[in-house]
């Protein structure tokens, strides 16, 4: 069934046509019966009329026709009914004495009184024989069947005519009505079509017809189940990472104890410690990536002093710069943005960690906060090797690390840092650009927060 509308329209029209056909058929048969009775009575009446109006019997056979005679009874005004009635009169000797509208040589039918059917002159006739006892004669009236039928058919056809005209009109109206009846379905379809991929909230329709209610309800139920399973899926990664924190803590403390217990520095134990640290880092990054996923994160936007937050994050994560003897500078002044504190702090941590990781010892990192025409700009500039232009798109992908697995600086990392940053940038409807710094080598990450808050 390609279209419910077409199906319903065609079916309804077919049913209307069939019912009309059946009732017409019955009407036709009824009309035929009525016509039979009518014409029979006519034959009888004519016979009586003739017996009353034709008192004298001529000596010779009279052949009278409608045409060219003075005897010209108007049987009907319509031409078809001319020459339709035939009658004969026979005397007591059963000799034909009067012929009207025919030139038959003998009696058309037997002289038994009553109705009869005969074949004559290539037609089927209905006859009536009347025994005129008073005048000792027989009067036969006859009429052709086909003329009867023509009459009856005309009656039926004329009653059918409005129906035949009416069917296309009915079809058109049914088409419109079915369309109107199906409108809630197309509204529901539209509602579903316009939904965004991530929007799994229930569909709302005002005035849902009873028939659609169950469809709407089951669609909504499906959406709810889908949403729940999506959320379970999302939560799983977060929960799993969360549950990993205690075992990782155990490993960290145990490896610390082990390293202290070993008299001489064991390379294996050292590498074990590195591995544990890396795993711990990965778990934290996966947690952050999940947490900051724009369709999951419940951001709490507030007015933040970005410069102040930079200070806090820099002081909280300065150890990595000390380890590599790197220099860090924070430029700028109090600048307000509308942001989520935790998310922006996570963003800064990741940018700083990247800058430190991919910059050589004694390198220099500059963090700048400034108000530009386009919005509030946060810049993190390092003088490391930078990222080749062709890699800049891909570094935002999860688990992608510039330079492949064999990382230039052999830095531990999991390739999630910039993906997390991208999440947070999206969350704030900000933009991120990776460029070359104004002078020398390195990477300049610029994040632009639009709609800065007026500093009062």
């Amino acid at each position: 069934m390609p279209s419910i509308r077409l199906f319903l329209t065609l079916t309804i029209i077919a049913i209307i046509t069939l019912v009309n056909f059946l009732s017409s058929l019955r009407g036709y048969r009824q009309s035929m019966l009525e016509a039979d009775i009518l014409f029979n009575e006519q034959l009888l009446e004519y016979a009586l009329l003739i017996s009353a109006t034709l008192p004298v019997l001529p000596d010779t056979v009279l052949n009278l026709n409608n045409s060219g005679t003075s005897f010209n009874p108007r049987l009907d005004n319509t031409p078809e009914f001319q020459n339709t009635l035939v009658f004969q009169v026979l005397d007591e000797n059963r000799e034909l004495v009067f012929n009207f509208n025919t030139n038959a040589a003998a009696a058309l039918t037997s002289l038994d009184p009553g109705y009869n059917d005969i074949n004559f002159d290539g037609y089927r006739w209905h006859t009536y024989t009347y025994l005129d006892l008073a005048n000792q004669r027989w009067i036969i009236t006859a009429q052709r069947y086909d003329i009867r039928y023509t009459l009856a058919e005309r009656v039926v056809l004329e009653s059918l005519f409005p129906i035949v005209i009416g069917i296309p009109i009915a079809g058109f109206i049914v088409w419109l009505l079915v369309g109107a009846g199906l409108r809630p379905v197309s509204r529901l379809a539209n509602e579903l079509k316009l939904k965004e991929a991530s929007d799994l909230s229930p569909v709302e329709l005002d005035a849902t017809p009873r028939e659609l209610k169950s469809l709407k309800d089951s669609t909504n139920e499906l959406l709810t189940r889908l949403k729940a399973s999506f959320e379970r899926e999302k939560r799983f990664a977060a929960d799993a990472a969360h549950e990993l924190r205690t075992p990782i803590s155990i490993l960290k403390v145990q490896i610390h104890n082990l390293l202290e217990e070993l008299q001489d520095k064991s390379v294996s134990a050292q590498q074990l410690k590195t591995g544990i640290d890396r795993m711990g880092h990965l778990v934290e990054q996966i947690l952050d990536l999940n947490k900051t996923s724009p369709d999951l994160y419940m951001a709490q936007f507030e007015q933040l002093n970005l410069h102040e937050l930079c200070k806090e994050v820099v002081s909280g994560s300065y150890e990595q710069f000390i380890k590599k003897n790197q220099q860090l500078e924070l430029l700028g002044d109090k600048t307000l943005i509308n942001g989520d504190r935790f998310a922006i702090a996570t963003l800064l941590k990741n940018l700083l960690s990247n800058a430190s990781k991919y910059t050589q010892e004694q390198g220099k990192i500059i963090v700048g906060v400034s108000k530009e025409v386009t919005g509030v700009q946060l810049k993190v500039i390092d003088n490391g090797p930078g990222i080749p232009i062709e890699d800049r798109e891909r570094v935002l992908e999860r688990f992608y690390r510039a330079g492949g697995v064999q990382h230039q600086n052999d830095q531990p990392g999991c390739g999630l840092g910039l993906a997390i940053v991208q999440h947070i940038v999206n969350l704030h409807h900000a933009t991120m650009d990776l460029d070359d710094p104004e002078s020398g080598t390195g990477l300049c990450v610029t994040i632009t927060f639009k709609n800065p808050i007026k500093d009062n």
Binding site: K252, V253, N257, L328
Partner: protein
């Protein structure tokens, strides 16, 4: 220094006990809230390390119970929950510090030492970084063994910086430590005190991180004791 560890995970608890013992802490461990309350009532410890995910009671509720029993010694929360709300809830309930899992044992030790110093129960409450030693109970500074006189605010400043070795102290956080609420401060008070301090300390001991604050780096070979 008596430390009570309230932690239900045996492996983690055992590891922490071993590590703390090695660093000269007297440590007891219980694995549920009921036992913790028993210890509080009988032999109150100096410091409590509290895991929030306990089998019989939520750690925050347990902390409320501690405080209701007039237990006023420092409590350090150790937890896998790391959201800001959780942190605020813990500190509001009366925790003194908050360490998210997975933690570095060095970090735990450093925080315990800071708490220890705050209690000032040990006679040798000293912080040594390189050849600079600060005695926090006698408020004395020694550079290369010889004593150096410090003004009160200079001492407070140096203590704040030395206690958080390898961590930047922002100018704002130093101001907050030096001056109580409502006290009038000149905009460059911290800079002035730092300037005076630097004259009394080895060159490069206090470093400036431009735009952020000040830092004392821990010499690579040494750990603060």
């Amino acid at each position: 220094m008596q430390v009570l560890l309230v932690e239900d995970d045996n492996l983690l608890a055992d590891a922490v006990v071993v590590a703390l013992k090695r660093h000269n802490f007297a440590i007891n461990r219980v694995s549920n809230g009921k036992d913790a309350m028993l210890v509080i009532d009988t032999t109150p410890p100096d410091i409590i390390i509290l895991d929030l995910g306990l089998p019989d009671i939520d750690g925050i509720d347990l902390l409320h119970k501690f405080r209701a029993r007039d237990f006023s010694n420092p409590v350090l929360i150790l937890t896998a929950r790391d959201s800001i709300e959780d942190k605020v809830k813990g500190l509001d309930a009366g925790a003194d510090d908050y360490l998210p899992k997975p933690f570095d044992i060095d970090e735990l030790l450093a925080r315990l030492r800071a708490m220890e110093r705050r209690l000032s129960k040990t006679p040798s409450a000293t912080i040594s970084l390189g050849n600079v030693t600060l005695n926090t109970s006698a408020h004395q500074l020694a550079v290369e063994g010889s004593e150096v006189e410090l003004a009160r605010r200079e001492y407070m400043l140096l203590k704040a910086l030395m206690e958080s070795g390898n961590k930047i102290q922002t100018r704002e956080s130093l101001e907050n430590k030096l001056y109580s609420w409502g006290e009038e401060i000149s905009s460059n008070a911290v800079e002035v005190h730092i300037h005076h301090l630097r004259k009394k300390l080895p060159a490069g001991f206090i470093q400036t991180v431009r735009g952020v604050g000040y830092i004392i780096k821990v010499p690579k070979s040494a750990t603060s004791q």
